[in-house]
């Protein structure tokens, strides 16, 4: 018995030793829509970008290109139209072996995730050399309505909103991507305004075509919000970005949308550039973006500013995001000046003290945007407005499974405000009520604003139904508030009911009702959203 085990063990060891020799033949072990994984006994001598071949009657034909590799595996993309099957054999032609030890590399994607962008894997490499790209089309059409029902004092009001979003990536296997995010919104009594100017209702946030010349070079034309510069808003024109390893450099040139109706306005030229750095450490990532933007109106400087954004998860359990914007241009009383005025600051950090306890803190200091040419008719008022500052602290604690406790406190103040706004909120949620399997939340809010003092007592229950395709919720709040100016108590009973239902494939329905009842008056509001993905 012992001898047999010895023989088996020896055979295994021989096999393992044989594997270490690294024959250049590999086996297809895994196929995804974008990638083909090939396992070798050793990839020694193979490098990213190398071509792998398949033996056919007429000899070796190129079929794959290596995107990344580990000591025994390669992540590849197909060349040409060859259809792969599991266990297909491919051949590599390693370069002359280097001296020294090869460090094993995990088979992971090093692509960074860019907000708002689609899968990076869909954009890898250019189409030079016959690299095949896979076309993907995702989108959604949404119809929403916000309705306030008629009551004794007010006529009803209804706002309808239609949203179409779509991203067609790698069209026809090329590097071309088309994207749009467009809404059309109007109230039932607003048609005259819409007829007068379509852009009173039509808002185009994204209507762009992008072309990836390679994995590291992207050109975008049309209207698009650059995720690295979202505070700039939409850019009508050209955006070009080139990556140099962990660095990205980009330039933008075009127009900013009209400041009254968000249409295209060729008088509002803007240009700028940005540098972004992406660093991946052992525990997380760090991303920095520095941008300079000049915005004009009829050839005159309207606004000039720098923007810096930093996000960091390098320290274990600590997540940090910060952004700061500083105006570099000021025009007061006809005098143009170069300045450095902090305009917007936002900091948000979250720290997981222990697995069940998370703390978060955010601070913002915000001013109204000042375009010195566009807003010169009411510039005095804008210049007079003070900075709005806000603090928000939150703690979440999960002492036992399914029980969530939390509190948050907020403070907001602008110097013109009669009083600072303060509020504090505590809640307790238990997500698995025995027998019914529902989630129950009880909460309490204390609030103090410039006009109101009060407390809110609330309770809510929600539950997934129909195999988690239907989510239902019920809430009740009692609002005990006093209108400070007249020492007038305005108690309110607020009831809410909501349904979210994925009722047919990718068709999603949300209905939400909110009823607010005062002593002699009730307000009823209904939200409906019907969304179809494709």
């Amino acid at each position: 018995m012992g001898k047999r085990f010895t023989i088996v063990l020896l055979l295994l060891l021989v096999k393992a030793l044989a594997s270490a020799q690294g024959p250049p033949e590999g086996t297809v072990t895994y196929i995804t829509s974008q990638h083909i994984y090939v396992r070798f006994n050793s990839t020694e001598g193979l490098a990213d970008g190398d071509t792998l071949f398949m033996q056919e009657n007429r000899g070796e034909i190129p079929v794959l290109v290596i995107l990344s590799h580990s000591s025994t595996s390669c992540v590849c993309e197909g060349l040409g139209e060859h259809e792969f099957s599991l266990s297909d054999q491919v051949i590599g032609h390693p370069a002359a072996p280097e001296t020294g030890e090869v460090t094993p590399v995990a088979v992971t994607s090093e692509k960074s995730v860019e907000p708002g962008e689609g899968p990076v894997a869909d954009k890898v490499e250019g189409d030079q050399g016959g690299v095949k790209r896979k076309q993907t089309v995702n989108g959604r059409f949404t119809f929403s309505s916000y309705s306030d029902l008629k009551n004794k004092q007010l006529d009803g009001r209804e706002r309808l909103r239609y949203t179409f979003s779509m991203a067609a990536r790698n069209i026809g296997g090329s590097g071309l991507t088309l994207e749009t995010y467009t809404t059309f919104s109007h109230t039932l009594k607003q048609w005259a305004e819409i007829r007068n100017n379509l852009f009173n209702g039509l808002k185009i946030y994204n209507l762009s075509a992008s072309y990836a010349f390679s994995e590291s070079m992207l050109l975008t034309a049309g209207r698009r919000i650059n995720p690295k510069l979202s505070s700039v808003g939409a850019i009508d024109g050209l955006q070009f970005e080139k990556k140099f390893g962990s660095l990205s450099a980009g330039v933008i040139a075009g127009f900013r949308p009209d400041y009254q109706d968000y249409s295209i306005n060729s008088g509002l030229f803007q240009y700028g550039a940005y540098l972004a750095h992406n660093f991946k450490g052992a525990a997380g990532r760090m991303q920095n973006t520095l941008a300079y933007i000049e915005q004009m109106n009829q050839g005159q400087t309207d606004r000039r500013f720098v923007y810096f954004q930093h996000s960091n998860t390098l320290v274990s359990n600590l997540w940090f995001f910060g952004s700061v914007e500083a105006d570099l241009y000021q025009q007061v009383g006809g005098t143009k000046q170069t300045v450095f005025n902090l305009y917007n600051t936002y900091v948000n950090m979250r720290y997981r003290v222990a697995r069940p306890v998370t703390l978060s803190l955010s601070y913002s200091a915000r001013n109204n945007l000042i375009y010195y040419e566009s807003y010169k008719d009411f510039l005095d008022r804008l210049l007079d407005e003070k900075t709005l500052q806000g603090w928000r602290f939150r703690v979440n604690y999960r002492p036992i499974p399914y029980l969530y406790l939390g509190a948050h406190a907020a403070y907001r103040y602008r110097k013109d405000d009669p009083l600072p706004t303060k509020n504090a909120h505590i809640y307790a949620t238990y997500t698995r009520i025995p027998r019914i399997g529902a989630s129950v939340t009880a909460n309490f809010t204390w609030m103090q604003s410039a006009y109101l003092d009060g407390m809110i007592y609330g309770i809510g229950i929600d539950k997934d139904l129909l195999n988690e395709k239907l989510h239902a919720e019920l809430k009740y709040h009692y609002v005990d508030q006093t209108y400070r100016n007249a020492e007038m108590a305005i108690p309110q009973h607020v009831g809410e009911a909501g349904l979210s239902w994925a009722f047919y494939r990718k068709l999603y329905l949300t209905v939400h009702y909110e009823g607010t009842f005062e002593k002699s008056l009730g307000y009823n509001r209904i939200f409906i959203s019907l969304s179809q993905r494709f």
Partner: protein, 344 residues
């Protein structure tokens, strides 16, 4: 050799484990068993046997995330690299004007904001009255409709145009001030009528009338004086008990009257300081009407003490024989006895 049966499974385990680590495209420390997602059909995701509970991950698939294609979030096959903060996948259409705590307004079930009232309760401007049903774009007037600039919380920050356009009364010409809440209630549904607070001129007592035109020129609220006499001149002139005009009474009605109907009680408290103490001292409570002392209703400068104080002139003459400038009339009494007491 007896330990071989133990060594062999251990080596096999290490071998298989090492193989799995290098073969898996899902990264290091990936602990989900393959058969949660894959079957013998191949390495494609087999939805027929898929049994991984995504709710155990850092990002439970709530709401519409459950309908989203896996690769829209999992850009690489290393699932731990998927981002969990909203803004990392969703472009910020608010242009960083509201921070990146998206869950304060949105839920995974819909982008629709169904807690508008609650958001405002925790903000600087809780929604009351007509504000509860106002269209969002009425206040948040950015061109894109989604950029939320800081707004002032004073009424005039949003209603300046109404203030400037109002002609009845003309707020600008009348320098009515921009503290709208002094006249208009935040819970109101209109600027006028029931929505108008008359607290600057309380409509109480005799002013509790429903016919605005009794004070205001019909359709014109811009030149309504607040002085009593402006409206009550006829009453002043017609009053005979006492005859206000003939007696030269002040037209500052508030000196004697309140807004109680019927002009009563009329209360002339300054009588004590300026003329003679009748609300204090020995005369307090000793009189019922003005005419007890002022017998001539057309001349309140004349009065008599003798209605109540029955004196014999001869006895008074004897008693004041040593007083210079003595004469037997009420005016002379007052001159020497300004508080009404004999000892003064």
């Amino acid at each position: 050799m007896r330990i071989l049966p133990l060594i062999l499974p251990a080596l096999l385990f290490l071998f298989v484990h090492a193989t799995r680590q290098t073969d898996s495209p899902h990264g290091d420390n990936f602990k989900i068993p393959c058969n949660k997602c894959h079957s013998a059909k191949g390495w494609e995701l087999d939805m027929e046997i898929y049994s991984y509970d995504h709710n155990t991950a850092n990002m439970p698939l709530l709401g519409q995330h459950a309908q989203t294609k896996c690769r829209q979030c999992h850009i690489s096959l290393v699932f731990s690299e998927a981002q969990t903060d909203c803004y990392q996948c969703h472009t910020d259409l608010h242009e960083q004007t509201v921070g990146n705590d998206c869950d304060r307004c949105h839920t995974p079930y819909s982008w629709i904001v169904n807690n508008i009232t609650d958001i405002h309760r925790q903000g600087r401007f809780p929604l009351l009255g007509a504000h509860l049903t106002a269209d969002c774009n009425s206040c948040h007037q950015s061109a894109s409709s989604l950029r939320f600039e800081p707004l002032g919380v004073d009424c005039v920050d949003c209603h300046l145009a109404e203030y400037q356009a109002t002609t009845q009364p003309n707020h600008v010409e009348g320098s009515l001030g921009t503290a709208c809440e002094e006249c208009h209630s935040i819970t109101a549904f209109s600027w006028s009528g029931a929505g108008f607070s008359h607290q600057f001129f309380p409509l109480t007592g005799g002013h509790d009338i429903q016919d605005c035109n009794r004070c205001h020129t019909p359709g014109d609220f811009s030149r309504t004086p607040a002085e009593c006499y402006a409206c009550h001149q006829d009453d002043y002139l017609a009053t005979t008990n006492p005859a206000h005009q003939a007696s030269g009474f002040s037209t500052d009605c508030m000196l004697c009257h309140t807004t109680q109907p019927g002009w009563k009680p009329a209360d002339f408290r300054i009588h004590d300081g300026e003329f003679f103490p009748i609300y204090s001292g020995s005369h307090r409570g000793e009189w019922d009407s003005c005419t007890q002392c002022h017998e001539d209703p057309n001349n309140y400068s004349s009065f008599t003490c003798l209605t109540c104080h029955e004196h014999s002139q001869s006895r008074m003459d004897n008693a004041h024989s040593e007083e210079r400038n003595y004469s037997y009339n009420s005016m002379a009494c007052l001159d020497c006895h300004p508080t009404g007491r004999g000892g003064d």
